[in-house]
Structure formats: C-alpha cells, structure tokens
Symmetry: C3
Subunit: 470 residues, 3 copies
C-alpha cells in the first residue's frame, strides 16, 4: 500500500476534463431556462418582482454559505489536513452541484425533453451536495481527491433516484430532509467507509489530532452552519406560516441542543472540561432532530425537547457507539456522521411520525390538507368540495389517513437506509480501484500527498536576520 503513487498529475486532469466535456455537452443538449428565467415567457402581465427568484434566492445564498464556508471550515479541524478539509470540500461541492443539476433535473425538472433551470434547481442541487459532503465526513483524511470525485459521481445519482422514488411513490413529509438528506448521507458514508476499512487506523495515528488554530477554525464552521441552519430546514417548505414555523423550530432545537451539548461535554470529560470536538459537532444535533417535523404544529416546547434528545443521543454516540463501530464492525466513521446525522435522523423520523399521527383539523384548521397534501380527499370526494370552499387552491390528494401516512414514512425510512447503505458499499468497492491514488496509512490526515504545503514557520527573528545580511 505504501508504494502506491498518489501523484495526480495525469489522472485528475483527465478525469475532470472528460467529465467537463460530457457536462457541457449535456448542458447544451438538455438544459434550458424555466419560465421564471426565460425572457420569452415574460409578458406585460408579469410583475418582475413576482419572479420566483425573489422567494428562493435568500435561502439559496444562506445555504451557499453553509456548504462552502460552514462545511469547509468544520472539516478543516485536523492539524495537518486543513487544506484537505477545506479545499476538497470546495472541489466536491462544486462538482456535486453541477452533476446534481443534471441528474435531479432529469428526474424532477424535466418536461418537453428539456431540464428547466432556475434558482430552485440550485437549492435542490445544494441539498444533494450536502448529502455528498456529509458522507465525505466518514472518510475524511483517508481518500484522494480523485476518490472523492468518483464518490460524488456515484452518490449523486443514487441519491437522486432514491429522492425521486420516495417523493413520487411514497410521498412523505420531510421538509428538513431528515430522511432523505441526513439518513441517506449517513448510511451511504458508513457503507463506503466499511469497505475502505484500514485496520492500522484503529491504533492512534500520529497525525489524527488538532491544533489550537484548527480547533478554532472548525468552531467557526460550526457557527456558520448553526447561524444559517433555519434557512436550510425551511428552504423547501410551503411558503407562509409553514416556513415561519420551520425557522422557529430549527432555531429552538439548535439552541436547546447547544446548551445540552455543553452540559454533557463537561459531564463526560474526565477532568470536567469542555471538549472542543463536542462544541464543533454535538451542538448541531438539534438542527437534524427537528427536521422531519419542522413545519408541523409540534409546539415550541417539543422543538426544545427534540433538541435536547437529539443532542443526548449524538453525544452518547460519540462517546460509546463510534469506538464500538470502529473496533467491532469495521466502520471507521471519521467525523462521527452516524452520531450527528444517523441517530439524530432516526429520532427525527420517529418524532415526525408522532407529529403526523397527532395532526388533526382542530390544531391545523383546513390548512391541514395543504401541509399534509396526501391526506386531502381524492378527486370527486364531496369532502374535497367542502374544503375547496374554504381553500379554493386546494388540490385533490390521496385521501390517506394519518396512520397510512405514518406507515409511508416508515417505509421511506427503511428504503432510504437500504438504498443508501447498498449504494455506499458498492461505491466503496469502486473507490478501492488502485488507479484512484488512495493515500497510504502513514499519509492519512495529511495534506502532503496532494498539496504544495508551505514549509514550517521559521522564527521571525531569523528572517529579519537573513534580510539584514542580504
């Protein structure tokens, strides 16, 4: 393994250029503007300020910050792998978004043989990108950029197909993406890292540690994610009160999980001190936990409780489950995504199911059938007409009961976990191809193989001395 070359001088450019030529051809052949982007569709009756962009763009920009700065800084926590964390995140994110625009476009935004593009597609593509970046957390520091690109190349279509099938056939409620984003990303990543198992890394690795500076940088990433998370969870809800609730619940959930994280971090530390890795990760658990019920009338107290529960599960996972998985199940989950996205995602699903079972007209009024669109009466049902007297815009639904909807959520949960784990394992086997320049164990968590790293800092006095002699 140690003698395998990590030189990318030919491989990476060839891979990227081939991909780019294919992409530009596909964009030219199939991608066009949607009705809010195309000049021809604007008539005299179109009010420019009603353009859909004005509703979506603020959320898009917030998610941009999360993807590029939030994930980028968060993943730069290793002492010698700061470039890798931040820059590979940048590389994968841009690649995954371009690719997701095409694949999601094919499944979700395609009519008349064309993919129709607007800012809404970019938001969806950034969600697909978030999936890839979460999975990246499982293999951080153990993969070459070429492996990461191949992983994104394979993960995006598996995700897009799963997303499309779940949304089209199971038709679930999951505004915050707890099932489709967090569970998918988690089990895909675990599948990959299971196949890429490196026994030597279970011992202490000399480079698997942080510095004062890298810890601070990583906390900044956490703060970027924390601050903008309400936009992430509410970007794709219905507009109006639904989106308003999603913002509130996310904020309250995050806030509760942050406070809990500090308490548990101190309690579980043998010296009663705060562990920076907990501040960087566990504080965010609440954002995931409220996800599946984020736009429902769960009450602010429930959002608070969900934040506390998600945080507790996440913290215990880091303390006890991750070491167990690494030692006994060959799952080396580098950033602990199973704790931050898996366990919390499962809690979120269960909470979502409870919220669905308890939802009724008394609490939601007639807009129950807007939010739970599948529970709206079917076409022809006299109840539909009654409701349409109250809400003329109401579309006929599937007439599902609360219990039926709950069962579909369960089905979505399991099929997502299954599809993602399988996809991850298969992807892992592809990533083992020797061509892909995987770093040796010694050079894990190290920028050296892939970056021109500046030499270590000489003391400033030396430099000044050199100058004065020059």
């Amino acid at each position: 393994m140690k003698t395998r070359s990590t030189n990318l001088r030919v491989k990476l450019p060839v891979f990227v250029v081939v991909i780019e030529v294919i992409f530009v051809a596909l964009y030219a052949a199939f991608v066009t503007y949607d009705e809010h982007t195309d000049a021809r569709f604007q008539t005299n009756k179109t009010n420019p300020m009603d353009n859909a962009m004005y509703k979506d763009y603020p959320f898009f920009i917030d998610i941009q910050v999360m993807i590029f700065l939030g994930f980028g800084c968060l993943l730069a926590f290793f002492r010698l792998y700061g470039f890798g964390g931040m820059v590979f995140n940048f590389l994968m994110a841009t690649f995954a978004i371009q690719w997701a625009i095409l694949v999601q476009g094919y499944f979700q935004f395609c009519h008349d043989g064309k993919i129709h593009l607007g800012v809404i597609n970019l938001i969806n593509a950034e969600f697909a990108c978030a999936v890839v970046l979460i999975s990246f957390g499982a293999v951080l520091g153990k993969t070459s950029p070429l492996q990461l690109l191949v992983m994104a190349l394979l993960e995006v279509p598996v995700f897009a197909v799963t997303e499309w099938a779940v949304l089209k056939y199971l038709r679930i409620n999951d505004s915050g993406g707890s099932i489709l984003i967090h569970l998918f990303a988690c089990y895909f990543g675990l599948g990959v890292t299971f196949v890429l198992y490196r026994p030597h890394l279970n011992k202490n690795h000399a480079k698997e540690n942080t510095t004062y500076q890298s810890d601070i940088l990583s906390v900044m990433g956490t703060l970027f994610l924390w601050v903008f998370w309400p936009s992430f969870n509410s970007a794709l809800t219905l507009k109006g009160d639904d989106q308003h609730r999603a913002i509130l619940h996310t904020f309250i959930g995050l806030s509760a999980s942050t406070l809990t994280a500090f308490a548990l971090s101190v309690m579980l530390n043998k010296n009663g001190k705060i562990t920076m890795a907990d501040v960087q990760n566990v504080t965010l658990a609440g954002g995931v936990t409220v996800g599946a019920s984020v736009d429902m009338m769960i009450s602010p107290a429930a959002a608070y409780a969900l934040g506390m529960m998600g945080c507790t599960a996440c913290m215990l996972g880091y303390k006890y489950l991750s070491p167990f998985l690494a030692r006994h199940l060959k799952i080396q989950d580098q950033c602990g995504i199973h704790n931050l996205h898996g366990l919390t995602g499962l809690i979120s699903c269960i909470a979502g199911i409870c919220a669905i079972l308890m939802a009724n007209e008394e609490v939601y009024g007639p807009s129950l059938y807007d939010l739970f669109a599948n529970r709206a009466p079917v076409k022809g049902d006299p109840k539909l007409k009654e409701l349409q007297m109250l809400i003329p815009s109401l579309q006929p639904g599937l007439g599902r009961t609360a219990k039926e909807q709950a069962l579909f959520q369960v089905a979505a949960m399991f099929s997502t976990i299954g599809a993602s784990a399988l996809g991850g394992i298969l992807t892992g086997f592809v990533l083992k191809l020797p061509y892909l320049a995987s770093p040796s164990d010694d050079f894990c968590f190290d920028d050296e193989p892939f970056f021109d790293v500046p030499p270590p800092l000489k003391p400033i006095n030396t430099i000044i001395a050199e100058d004065s002699t020059a």
Copy 2:
C-alpha cells in the same frame, strides 16, 4: 483563591439540566405560536407572502451572524483564551436567547395567558442577547462558564424589566438601541466587574496578550459586526423610508468612524504605527453613536459627524479613561466596553435629543407623527382628525411636544444607567459565590482550566520522522 477548584464536572451539568427542565416546562405551559406562525390563523384570504416573517427574517439572519460569528471572533483575541472567547460567547448567546424569549415574552408578547412566538420575538431576544455579550466583554477571561451563565440568568430579566418599563412608561425613540442596549449593557458590565475587582490584574499579566493569528481572527469578528451593523440598527424601525434611513446612517457613521480610527490610532501610537486593538474596536464606534437618531431626518452629514465624534471619544477613552478606571475606581473593563458602548452611547443619546428637538413637520411632513408616535395628538383632538385625513392609519398619541419627548429621553437615559449599574453590582456579588468556580488570577485569560487544549505544535519534521520509524 488559587486553591479553589475550577472543575465543572458536576456543577455545570446540574445547573444546565435544572435550567433546561424548567425551560421546557415553561415553554410547554406558556409558549405558543403567534398569528403569523399558527396554521389555524391562515385563511383563504391570507397571502402566504404577506407573512411577517418575510419582513423580519433577513434582518434576523444578519443579526445571527453578528451575535455568533461577529462577537465570537472579536472576543477570541487573547493568545491563550481563543476557545474561551469564541465558545463562551456561543454558550452564553444560546442560553440568553432562550431565556429572553421567556422573559421578554412575559412582558411584551403575552396575551390570553400565553407568550406568542414568531421571528420578531427572536430578533428581540437577540437584542437582549447582545446586551449580555457586551457586558461579557467587561469580565472576559476572568470568569468561569458557570459564572457567565449565572450572569446571563440575572441580566436578562433586569434588562427585560427595564426595557419594558422604559418602552411602556417613558415611551422613547431609540431604534438603534443606544440607550436600552448599549448604555444598559455597558453599566451592567461595569457594575459586575467593579465587584469582581482583582488587584493583581492591574499589573501586567503574562497571558494578557495577543498573537498574530488571534489578532487577525478578532479583526474578522470586527468585520462581521461592521458589515451587518446596518441590519442591527434598522431591524426594529418602522418599515419603509425609516428603515432605509437607518441603513444609510449606520453605514455612513461606521464608515466615518473607521477612517477616523485609523488616523487617531497612528497619531496616539508612539511609533506612528497602527494598533490592532484600535482596528478591532474603535472602528465600530460610529455604529453605536448614530443609534438613537438612526431613523430620523438628521442628514447624511450629521451621521458622518456623529461617526467621527463617537470614534474620537471612544479612542480617547481607551487611551486615558480605561487605565484611570482600572487604577483608581477598581473598574477593570477588559474589552473597554465603557469606551465602545458607554461614551458612544451617551453621545448618541445627546444627538438623539437634539434630533428630537429639531424635528418638525416641515422636514418630516405628516409622517412626523408616525415616527414620533408620542407627539401625535391625543384622541379627540381636532388636529388628529386633520392628520388622519392625510394618514388614515395614524394612531392617537400622547400629544407630547418636542421638549417633553426630549425630557423623557433624558429620564430614560438616567433610569437605564441606574437600573443597569445597580443590577450589575448585585449580580457581581452573586458571581462571587465560591460555588461558581471562578479561575485564580494565574489562570485568567487562559483556556486551560475549562478546555481540553491540544498540546503545543511539534515541528512537522518530527512527526514525519516518527511516522517513518513506525
């Protein structure tokens, strides 16, 4: 003092868990949705895009960045207390916001026995949180996280009561929060630090200094605050031209104070160089100074002049007043909040009073009585009817004259200073309880007692050598 334990393993978790249980109970019992968040209130006539969230959320998100990233980075300037500055800020902010939602909710958003919640409450709670974080600046590096939580626990209600009393009984104009936010926070913090006086810290402390990296990080915090400050000062103004003016004035004031800060920094430095602490703090003075008159028709030139004046007062305060306060009045104001928030806040109040005295219908048109709502004629006054012909939405006011309004501003200023100083002093005595794990003098400005700090950096060559032998 040196032997007192700073181990938080039991104390902090117990405190936090008790608080959280109480909070979740209070949220469950008293907190519900407001009319823009509750699904039941949405009828067919509600346009989702008219939801109040769309007006408030962009400002909320900008303030989020200021609170978590702005303050967080700014306070991380000490060489060995970067974790403390950034992470304790994170901890206190989340705690203060949760608590403020309840307390402010009780005083300002409570009807039918319930606190009604929307994004607007979050903005108000973040203002309360800003108050706590400014006060934190006075005791930075000298307090345990438990002390900080207790301080937030006590400061938020004192602030909320003061805010409520001033807004309800004195009814002042203070859109940028110069009186209620900056003066309150400043004198509360000074009160606390006065009681926590540590004579040894007046000598040079070995850890009370910065590094190249920490200075840069702190400037980033300044830039986050600078960039988003217009949103802070305009978040709670009337919509439309008032908010527009608030943005303009804040930008111009900040811009003028920044330029002035560079000039004064170089002038007052004995080598004619720029002092980084000035760049980090004094540049921001203009944002406070325009606060009290930020939505009035003061003219862009006046905003410019206010920026210059605030900056000058702030700079002279850092140079001459802070050392005096520390030596002779036992007020060790760690970040110099008396310069950045106190002196500038006082100037802002005076400027606000001048602007109020000069306000007339000639300059404002009839919307004078919108902006200065207390000057609107009382119910039954024939002048009210005349005005309502021009502005049908105008509410009856108190018929105050400009002079009366000015006197109420003065009263608000003094009562705020009095309430906050008293509250701060009492809080200081509570913080002296031995239970609260205050660090010894030697461990001030040091992360060591409260964080698992990564060991200092070994040279990279050593690591590589270790690896190759492994």
Copy 3:
C-alpha cells in the same frame, strides 16, 4: 530608499483629518435623501414595503461581505503581511466608498444641485470600491497606507468619469461590470505598478511567501467571494428574469471554472499536487468571464463554457504571462490581477459582443428591447408603438442595430483600457512622491513598518513556568 521614514504619526492623521473635514463639508452642502429615504416624500399612497430599499438591500449586504471579508481575507495570504492585507483593505474600502458616494453622486445622482442618497448609491459606491481593491492587488505589500489612500483618492474620480462617459455616451450592456469594473481596475493597477517598478523584487524576496494558516485564511476569502458573487453580478441588472439569469449564469460559470482550476493546477504542478494560490485565485475566473453577458439569453451551457475558458486563460496567465510581464515589461503584478481580471475581462467582452450579435426577438421576445434598451426604436418610429402595445412601459431607444451595439461595446472596451492605463500611470507618479512613506524593498510584504506586531509565540510551557514562579 532604505533610509526613507515610514513613520506615519503626523502624515496619515493630517491627511485623513483634512479629507474628513472636506468630506463632511461636502456632505453637508450637497448630499441629501432620495425619494425613498426622505420622510417628506412618503404619502398615504406610498406602501412602505414598496420602498426601493427592499429590492436593493439584500444585494448590498452580500456585496458588503465580499468587499470587507472576501477581499480582506483573500489579500491576507502573505506570511508576515496578514495585517496589511486585511486591514489596509478595510481602510481603503471605507475611504473609497465615502469618496465614491460624492463623486458618483455628482455624475450620476445629482439633480436640483443635490446628490440624492439611497441604498442604490451605496451599491454603486461599493462597485467603485471593488475597482480600487482589485487595483490594490497589483501593488500589495509594496505600498504604505498613505500611498494607498492617495491611490484611492485618484482612482475613484478617474473611474467615476469613465463610468459616466461610457454609460452616457457609449451606452453599453455590461451588467456584471466586466468592462467597467474588471478591465478598468486591472489596467489602472498595472499602470500604477509599472511606475512603482522595484527591480530587486524580481529576485526571490525572503518575505514573499505564505504559511499554512495564511493560506487557509486566504481560501476563506475566496469562498466568501465565490458564495456571494451571484449577488455582485446581478445587483444592477433589470429586475425579474434578467436578474434571475444573472444569478444562474454566475453560479454556473464559477462552478465550471472551479472544477477546471483544480484540473489545471494539478496538471501544471511539477509534482502533480494542488497549488493553493490557484485555489485562491483561479477558481474565481468564471465570475468575471460571464460578466458582460450575464443577464442575456446565452444558455446555461455557454455560461459553463465561459467558466472553463476564463479559468484556462487565467491559469496560463499565472503560469507564463505574469513572470514575463515582471521580467520584461517591468510590470510586477503582485496578485496577478491581469490574469484574474484582465484576461478574463477581455474574454467576457468578446462573449458579450457575440451574445449581442446573436440576440433577436425570436429568443428574447419583445423584452429584447428592455434588456438592450438602445436597440428599442427611436421616438416616433411606428415600430415603437407596436412594441408599446406589448410592453407599455417601453421607453424609446436609439434604434441601434445589433452590429452597432457591438461596435459601441468595442469602443467602450478600448476607451476604458486607455483611460484606466493612463490614469494608473499618472497615479503611479504621484505615489512616488517621497512624502508618502513607501516602505523599503526589505520591508515589502511585512507588517512591521506599519503595525504594532505582537512578538512571536513563546512555547506555552515557558509561560506556565513563568506563572508558577510568579
């Protein structure tokens, strides 16, 4: 040169205070509110939420982040010049904006003898500021803050006159500012650096290098610019679908150029590794390249191709052209602005001209004459009436053909390059005045002459030892 004093204790404060007194007088005499900021203009029929601020402010705030955090971090890449990069950027930006408000105000927003101010002026001023900061990149590390202020003082009016003349007389399409912002800034900066040529800097300079930390900081700056660039390119387009397209194209262009940059960086590196300077700069090329045609119906594939082309030109420029310019033409372009803004700007102009030549009613519908306002028929033309049946708001234009418009674009390109290069050269001569405290060659790329730099880090153990003996 070595003996010249860099002490600014008198010079800088005098310069700044004189400027500020003049500015405050000019603001007082000539600057007032526009119709969206002035309370008198608000009548009962004004809907506060229709205030122009709500359309402009989100874009303004995004550009703020780019100017202060994006440029600030990006320019802080030198190991010993981090303060200089970030803080001089802050200083120049605030100064340039204040000054641009006056100068652009005089040329573009002046009527009734007054400059009328709203957020839209701030956006325009931030564009002028971006021009100054791009030019700054050419002389980074080789100039005193006083020189930089003088440069901004001279560049802003030259830019404002050029902008005004081009927009008023040539009337071009350039929403992303490829001609007016990027080409102007580039050739002005090259003009300045040509005159300030320092032969000794062509040899390796001991301080002209980066550290691990400074490289990461600089990538963060890149990410800030990357994330918000769509707002930069779309801030001044027509509202509605035009702005929507500008966002899409910028995102796609950036995304394509980022992926290409990684491929080329690895390919051109002799060890097949990623060069951080490429990640910091070349990834952004696509944002410039799509600029001139950013709001046109060029198709997403064309935006993708433009990103790839711009990135390739930029990368080859860094590799081959910059060293050539420095050695043979005395143009020491410190940050390679000729690659990132010049070459890409030229490609963008050519692409814009192609897009203009291909624009027709079939693709754009009648809104062709909105976007290409100069192609609208002249007053009295019967075709105008026909079009006004479809678009009543359509203004009479100049009746230009596509070819005529293309020729005007060419004229604008050459006159902008000419004006900026000449302005830059003349400014360079002014900057050579000995009064302006230029640093000696040895102290280039060094904060030492202008900042109180904290002493180098002593090992933490030493400090703890000192404490325990204290």
